[in-house]
Chain length 105, copies 2
DNA sequence: ATTTAGAGTTACCTTTTTGTTACCACTATT
DNA sequence: AATAGTGGTAACAAAAAGGTAACTCTAAAT
């Protein structure tokens, strides 16, 4: 872990990576169970999904709630900090849409 | 290369990575030579700087101008697309500043 | 003849990130 | 007794990203 003077680098540290944006985006629409996330994010392995969720949790962007039921139920919910990323995603989405020709194919 | 339905993922594909945000940020203040970039971005190796600049160029975010002089002179300038990332960086900077406690140390 | 300067390139290596496969725990149901 | 359902973990493999050191090219200066 390093210290970032640059708030942009800091932000990218937290939301970057191959899967975190999609995970956060899916959770923007509300609490989801582990299995529901896996279904809505095709091709992610359970291992990687678990890893990314744990990182997002320790970065304070979401909360993991485990219910003592059989079979087990685990729910993930964005914290206010997680939800506050909406504006950032929105700006990136605007840029991405305005520059579709730049997007790889 | 893959196709991204998600414009956020597409945007991160183009500006993500360890060095691209800083490179783009430095270029926001105007055209710079290779050596000037290297000085303003401490610890980046020449090889990686070259690689990242080539990628940004092929993504249409900047232009590389080479002058036939000895010793050689090469200048990098943001394209309008590159400059238009300003809003995205701005939003990330806001979030990063509002969430300093989340930033690693 | 050797050195210097700028902007690289090349070959090679290490670290980080992401993916694959198999397996576990616990209970209810068939 | 065997199987299904849920949310994982362990061990290993592959790919991507990043880093290091040495080398190139050319003209002018020492």
């Amino acid at each position: 872990m390093e210290f970032y003077d640059c708030p942009v680098t800091a932000t990218l540290e937290v939301i970057g990576g191959k899967w975190k944006p999609i995970i956060l985006y899916v959770l923007m629409s509300g609490t989801k169970r582990f299995g529901a996330l896996a279904v809505r994010i095709p091709n992610i392995s359970r291992k990687v999904l678990t890893e990314q969720l744990r990182e997002l949790e320790s970065d304070g962007l979401l909360i993991r709630r485990k219910y003592k039921e059989i079979p087990p139920r685990v729910e993930y919910t964005l914290t206010p900090e997680g939800k506050s990323l909406w504006d950032v995603f929105n700006e990136m989405a605007i840029w991405g849409n305005n520059n579709r020709r730049i997007v790889k194919k």
